[in-house]
Symmetry: C2
Subunit: 205 residues, 2 copies
């Protein structure tokens, strides 16, 4: 697959923005600039994977707060870039998941390295998210009862035990179980367990 090359630039200094845009576009990145955090939040779509290059100190929504908003949006990796940063600030940013925390004036090589690994991470998160969404889409096909049965099956319980717990007969469980396997498109209990594990489904107590 062709790797995404989207870079979003959020900075309130037009000169710097222009310079960085030129630099990054020269490297083949697809750059889009925003002059404030609010502006970015309004316009950004939750679509492709991208690397966000973010100034920390901006009027309005500052970089670290914007990061919190973006945490809910997978597929975006953040690289901070600031002129007046300090150590606690950088520590907080990285702990909160930023790819890097660069200081102005930034060396061209540093920026490119950070943006590169940011895009890498963004793509990884993005496809992980898509995979997760896929699992949940298939899960949504199940009826409530089937989900319940699924929970017991991945706990390794026998059909008769499940039937007992759910107050029904073994045969009924077999039917549900068969439908679960069919709807989730898995061919064995082993696959089912892996599916459930990836989808974050807890075994029924």
């Amino acid at each position: 697959m062709s790797s995404s090359r989207n870079v979003y630039l959020v900075d309130d200094e037009p000169e710097l923005t222009r310079a960085l845009t030129r630099l990054l576009e020269a490297e083949g990145f697809v750059v889009r600039a925003f002059d404030s955090g609010d502006d970015f939040l309004r316009q950004v779509s939750n679509g492709d994977a991208a690397c966000v290059v973010l100034d920390v100190a901006m009027p309005g929504l500052d970089g670290l707060r914007l990061q919190q908003h973006l945490a809910a949006m997978p597929g975006l990796a953040i690289v901070f870039l600031t002129g007046h940063g300090d150590i606690p600030m950088s520590v907080q940013a990285i702990k909160a998941g930023a790819v890097d925390f660069l200081t102005k004036p930034v060396k061209r090589a540093d920026l490119l390295r950070a943006v590169g690994s940011g895009l890498e991470r963004a793509q990884a998160m993005h496809s992980a998210m898509k995979a997760h969404a896929d699992l949940h889409a298939r899960l949504a096909l199940l009826t409530p009862r089937e989900r319940e049965v699924l929970g017991h099956v991945i706990s390794g319980r026998l059909n008769k035990i499940i039937a007992d717990r759910l107050g029904t007969t073994e045969h009924t469980i077999k039917v549900h179980r068969g439908r679960v396997m069919e709807k989730l498109a898995v061919g064995s209990v082993a696959e089912l367990v892996r599916f459930a594990q990836q989808a974050g489904i807890a075994p029924e107590s």
Copy 2:
């Protein structure tokens, strides 16, 4: 369980070490001090969970390099403490897994918070490591053939298919499979799959 309260102090300034020791011991931590990175590496045992408070700038082995050595030792969480740090240094430290990066003079509350969450993380890593070691100890009970069969079972293959692939009979597979379940102390395929997943065993192709 009683939570570990071991704190290892690595700093080449005896005064600071003494002060921090008093401070931490007053809070109920069990403190042990070392005056160089080499010294620490020689004496530290790979036993309990602990939080290491580490100066970055020390003669001999510096903090960041020591961190690399300690990465191989799970159960240790690192809190950096330094007088002459800069942003790139802190970024590198946190990226490499440090719990926090504090600057001297450190506020008492900051240190205690960092050490507290360091110990928390150390314990989490420590028990995760023990669990992992446990899994591998049980895995070691399996004969090569049994491990092979395990790989196929967690792929969800039927006994007859496994027998075919391994060039033997279905009955033989059943016997191996039974022994695997017994040695790994699991009662169902579901448990077996979860066991293998946690132990990092890839399904047989």
